[in-house]
Symmetry: C2
């Protein structure tokens, strides 16, 4: 816990979340260093100080910690035992290893969440195709097979419907697997919660998330759900933050099944499902994360607008850079474009667009239109095959 | 005029306006270089690329221009003849020398505005105390004496009431003076207008500005004025932008006298009177300036909120850094703090706080409270001696 004049943050990873966190450091005079193997990582391009190294190695993490400040995270691809080693050496790590494990290790997460009484899908740890088949014989096909560590944006998560698919998935993702029952959800929601090292908690309104190929392509804020679902989701997020003594922000991704909420994934860091908070909320998730890890008072989570929608910018099939279409996208009135300065590749998440409006429909039209231009895709196609919450 | 993938801006001066402009470049992937004598100028601390040099020298300006991109401005302390030289050498300068002169040279400004039929105070160019006295014999005391070039934040502007004060003022500010009749205004307003190199114009709602000791200490958005004054002010700003072929943003500072508007000052750059646009408007003045100088479509100027108030953070008498009081200020719910990373000195503008609200009163209470903490002053004292527009 540090005071203003010595406020420093050391972030593991220099990707887009670090980049946007860096943007939030500037007005508050916070100094930020990032650890990344890429000397031109998105946050470094924005101006963050860089330590070059691989977060998989403890030596690199120690190099980062030596720069001073609370150690925090842009991604989950860090061995939990290294976090414990840093903590034992007296480094301030936020979120701490105990809560970070809920995001960094899916096998441990399922086990610990269930033990603490939180609603999670039926799940087992496993290693081989026969473990998958054995689980499916009890739970029924299809089942979900995940690598316990290192997945993101739908990578390392597969829905398998039979023994052949089980073999393929186990070969690709094993040997450290989580095998889960498939949840036939009505909608996907996400709640962003923050807890400061002082114990203060602040929770944003739930959002609806729309995924395609495992990547979140659209976020609608607030989620069009009844008030009791809203309260239930926020209570669940607060309860997780308290139970596991979160420090920082945490995205709680939820399945809505009838009137029930089931935890899908936790991300103990800023998250794609809360990018709209930059424009639409009193405090952005990035500033909130900084406040929380520095032990500062949390900011208001209120929305400034009636509705906001974020659409991701996905790399075009021809590999072209969205920068070349920026001017055209900025002609869409109300489109707020955020580019991540990442090398364009087909299917890669390269940025996002947020639009505010008096209704979700109004905001969505604007955000989709601009994101489609930047992604060089058809706006209407972006959600054609998605299950949507009616708005 | 450049397209997205090669978007570059070269800003003369690396102060707080350059710093906040730099913040706006990040999401849009614009590359920005600043020219400043201080290698740790506010914009450089934020991450902007730096060219070290003195903007008073043409050689330094040429060094900046060589970095590529449109040349634009954080301040007015640049000789107009150097801008003309850059333009003649084929450098893209925005705003151009023709319109920048309206801000950079107060004598030329008064003369040209009057010639074009715009409402300005009665004014003459002069050099000595006897010029001041001669003007006052016609116009009546007090009169306003200004240095024609280089003033800002009330520096180099004095209200003189008699011959003795005239001698002092002429000695301090001469020999290149503008001598004006004193305008006994009812209120001060400011309008921010943008004009793109494509000719597109966008104008923000007028704001009320409150000055103390020549420094703007409080900005209220929107200004509490009748609709016809609002329209009149916006029409005036648009007309100035069109007449002088502005490229970029321009702050038009106005005196309201009864139902009449008189032009006080023009600033052909982002301006203190529009900092609230970061949180409160669909497009911040900084993004708008970038769009305008790059020839991109302008953004919406609509307010997202009913009301917003900005209070400046002024260096405390004990010279202490506001960073040491940041944590306390962030406990004020709804206060958006922007620190400029400038060395703390008594009376120096070190940052600002913006608060949004459903009324000006609500927003003002929050902004004043947080700014007072950061300025180590009494919140109620900040406007005690100011003429205010009732809210």
């Amino acid at each position: 816990m540090r005071l203003g004049s010595d406020a420093r943050v050391a972030m593991v990873g220099g990707g887009q979340l670090a980049r946007m966190t860096y943007e939030a450091t500037i007005p508050l005079g916070i100094r930020m260093t990032v650890l990344d193997a890429d000397p031109l990582a998105p946050a470094v391009r924005a101006g963050a100080q860089a330590v070059q190294g691989d977060p998989a190695y403890l030596a690199s993490l120690v190099d980062l910690a030596r720069m001073g400040g609370v150690v925090t995270f842009d991604h989950e691809r860090v061995p939990i035992e290294h976090l414990r080693a840093l903590e034992e050496a007296g480094v301030s790590v936020a979120p701490g290893s105990h809560v970070a494990e809920l995001a960094f290790d899916k096998a441990a997460s399922r086990r610990r969440l269930r033990a603490a009484g939180f609603p999670v899908p039926e799940a087992v740890a496993g290693a081989t195709a026969s473990d998958v088949v054995a689980f499916a014989q009890g739970a029924g096909w299809p089942v979900v097979v995940k690598a316990a560590k290192g997945g993101y944006d739908g990578r390392a998560v597969e829905v398998v419907a039979n023994e052949d698919e089980a073999s393929d998935a186990a070969a690709r993702l094993g040997p450290n697997l989580v095998i889960e029952s498939f949840v036939n959800f009505d909608a996907e929601l996400a709640v962003m919660v923050a807890r400061s090292s002082t114990g203060e908690i602040a929770c944003y309104d739930p959002v609806s998330t729309i995924q395609r190929d495992g990547i979140c392509i659209e976020v609608l804020a607030p989620a069009a759900v009844p008030a009791r679902i809203r309260s239930q989701a926020m209570d669940l997020a607060r309860s997780l933050a308290t139970t596991f003594e979160l420090i920082g922000v945490m995205a709680v991704e939820l399945f809505l099944v009838g009137d029930d909420l089931i935890i899908n994934e936790l991300a103990t860091r800023p998250h794609n499902s809360a990018h709209h908070t930059i424009e639409a909320a009193e405090t952005s998730q990035f500033e909130q994360h900084l406040r929380a890890v520095l032990g500062w008072p949390l900011g208001s989570t209120e929305l400034r607008v009636r509705a906001a929608v974020t659409c991701n910018i996905i790399g075009a099939q021809d590999g072209s850079d969205p920068l070349g279409r920026l001017r055209q996208a900025l002609a869409i009135r109300g489109a707020h474009v955020h580019l991540y300065a990442k090398t364009a590749r087909p299917g890669r998440k390269l940025g996002h667009v947020t639009a505010c409006g008096s209704t979700l429909g109004e905001a969505r039209t604007i955000a989709r239109q601009a994101a489609a231009i930047l992604s060089a895709s058809e706006p209407t196609a972006s959600c054609a095959d998605s299950r949507e919450v009616p708005t």
